[in-house]
Each structure stands twice: as structure tokens, then as C-alpha cells.
Point group: C2
Chain length 189, copies 2
């Protein structure tokens, strides 16, 4: 478990930093939104990431606490704090999944070189981290016989629905999409 | 606490039903999306509500379990299952908040009479329920001295940012939100 905690710590401190970069990008977009729909749209994503950030502020020290555990018995479902850790990790798997999608949505809008490069690099790391957390939690949940269910599993039945490796060849391109049209928030209305 | 559990049970069974109605509305929109951005946008909201649904499937029986508690000592932070209940309730407060915003975003798109009527009625109930859950949790968290922090509090500093009662006169209109004040991510950290 120590090796896994080390990886979780690295992934969640990395994503905490990524959230901050993403929120800083969204902030002026919200301030200067062309209309109320656009403002609400980005403000909503901003708030969801803000919620995730506030959970990570609690989760990261919890991971650190277990990294310092001296007794293997602490890694047991009989320890309620360990259950809490597993529960939070399972929740933040979805936090990472949703972040990848927030980045994908942002890639449709922020097509300038600077922002799309940053978004693509955050996307690449977050996607890998999501896959790794997902895989590690399948193992861990199996080992500790938890009852965590993945409500997304059916979306991946035929294809990893976040995977864009098959359709994107140039990294600065928009995610997983063959034909990307010019997009404005207005086109969604 | 029994009276509060009764209200929580009612609110979360109501919102579970509302999620299902909303997901049923989104399903054909995703299937028939005009482009990849539109598809991803609604699929993303669909998945977030699906995550919430899967959490409510666990939370509702937990509320019921505490409704049947015979001993007042079960309602104590010394009981880890009670801590779990509080934690889940605090999480689902954000679930309700995000649902109100999903409905508001959908109201920009689904302007036909049938769908906007349904969305507005779901929005009205969900907004009231969110406010009630928020208020009840302020009381409960105070009583049990929990450390739950609301990362949204600053958004409501001058104005309830989900309140549309002051700015909307015709119910089929899209939600209106007052100007957002300056905020930096740094202020959270």
C-alpha cells in the first residue's frame, strides 16, 4: 500500500496544481463573458473544480498521514479512517474523470496557442492519472472487498470513452473529434 | 435529528426522481447531437448526474437506517457511520447545487414549452431543497462541531448566486445572475 500511497500523493498534488492553473484561465473568461449563458457555463465548471480543490485540501494530508503509518493494521477496513481514505479516493477518481472532460470542453473554446498548449498538457497528464487511479482502485477495492460501484463502467463497454489516442494525431488539436467546427457558446443555445 | 432525517429523506428521494427525468431528457439530445462539442457537453452533464445518482442509491438507505435508530447515542461523532452520513450529506449539498446549475444551463437550450416547463419545475424544487439542505447542515455541522468548509460561501457573499427571484419575471426565461465579483484561486489556498 505504501507504493500506491506514494503514487496517489503525486497524482493528487499534481492535479491540485492543475486545477489552480485551469481556474486562473477561466477567471478572466468569466469576468469578460459575452453573455449570461457563457458566464454561467464557465462559472459552473469553475465552481465544480473549486469543490474538488477543497476536497483535495483534506485528502492530501490524509494520504500523507497513512504514508507515515507504522502499523500495517491501520490499512484495514476495521479502521474507519482507512475506510474514509478509500471512500475519498474513489470519489476523486470521478473528480479526475470530470476534470479531463472539463479540459476537453475548454479545448473547444480556447484554441489560441498558449491556452490550447497548456490545456493539452494538463489533459495528457490528467488522463493518464485518471487511468492509473482507476486501475489502482480496482486492485485496492478488490483487495479490501469494498462495495464501490463505478457508474461509468457501461460508457467504456466498447471503448474507453475518454481515450483520444485513436483520433488525434497533433497534440494541439481539440480532443477526440474528427471534425471540429468553429464553436461559440451561442451555438449550443 | 429525526425530523431532519425525515426532510433529508424526502429531499433526496425527490431529487433522485428528478435526476432520472433530467437524464431521460438529455439522452435523445446526446444521441442526436449536431456535433462533437454538443455531444460531449451533454454527455458530461449526464455523467455527473449519473455519479450523483449512484451516490444517492447508497445515501438514501443510510438515511433510512438512521431514521430507525433506537438509541440517541448513534447520533454522535463517536459513531463512524454517523460521520459517514454527515459527510455524504455535505457532499450532496454540492450535488444539489450543481444540479440547479445543470438545469439552468439546460434552460438556455430547451426553450420549447414541454421541456422548459419541466426544467423550471425541477429547478424550483431543487433550488428550495438546496437552500433547505444548506441551512440544515449549517445547524447540524455547528451542533456536531464538524470541520466541513463550504468552498462556495464567497460566491454568496453579496448575493445568493443561484437566486433568480429578483431578476426573472417570466418563468420560461433563462436564469439571471448578478455580476460576479473578482475572485482569485489564491484566496482559497
Amino acid at each position: 500500500m505504501q507504493e500506491e500511497l506514494k503514487i496517489f500523493y503525486k497524482i493528487f498534488t499534481t492535479t491540485k496544481d492543475a486545477i489552480e492553473k485551469f481556474m486562473n484561465m477561466l477567471d478572466p473568461v468569466i469576468q469578460n463573458a459575452a453573455d449570461e449563458h457563457e458566464r454561467l457555463y464557465y462559472h459552473h465548471i469553475y465552481e465544480e473544480e473549486e469543490q474538488r480543490l477543497s476536497r483535495l485540501v483534506v485528502l492530501i494530508p490524509l494520504i500523507q498521514k497513512f504514508q507515515q503509518a507504522k502499523d500495517q493494521k491501520e490499512f484495514s477496513p476495521a479502521n474507519n479512517e482507512f475506510n474514509r481514505l478509500l471512500q475519498e479516493l474513489n470519489l476523486e477518481k470521478f473528480g479526475l474523470h470530470n476534470f479531463v472532460e472539463h479540459l476537453d470542453l475548454a479545448l473547444f473554446r480556447f484554441t489560441d496557442e498558449d491556452r490550447s498548449s497548456l490545456l493539452n498538457s494538463l489533459r495528457e497528464v490528467s488522463y493518464k492519472d485518471y487511468q492509473q487511479v482507476k486501475q489502482m482502485l480496482i486492485d485496492i477495492n478488490g483487495r479490501f472487498d469494498t462495495n464501490f460501484v463505478d457508474p461509468h463502467a457501461h460508457h467504456d463497454e466498447h471503448h474507453d470513452h475518454l481515450d483520444r489516442s485513436q483520433t488525434v494525431t497533433v497534440v494541439t488539436h481539440a480532443p477526440q473529434i474528427k471534425q471540429r467546427r468553429g464553436f461559440t457558446v451561442g451555438s449550443l443555445i
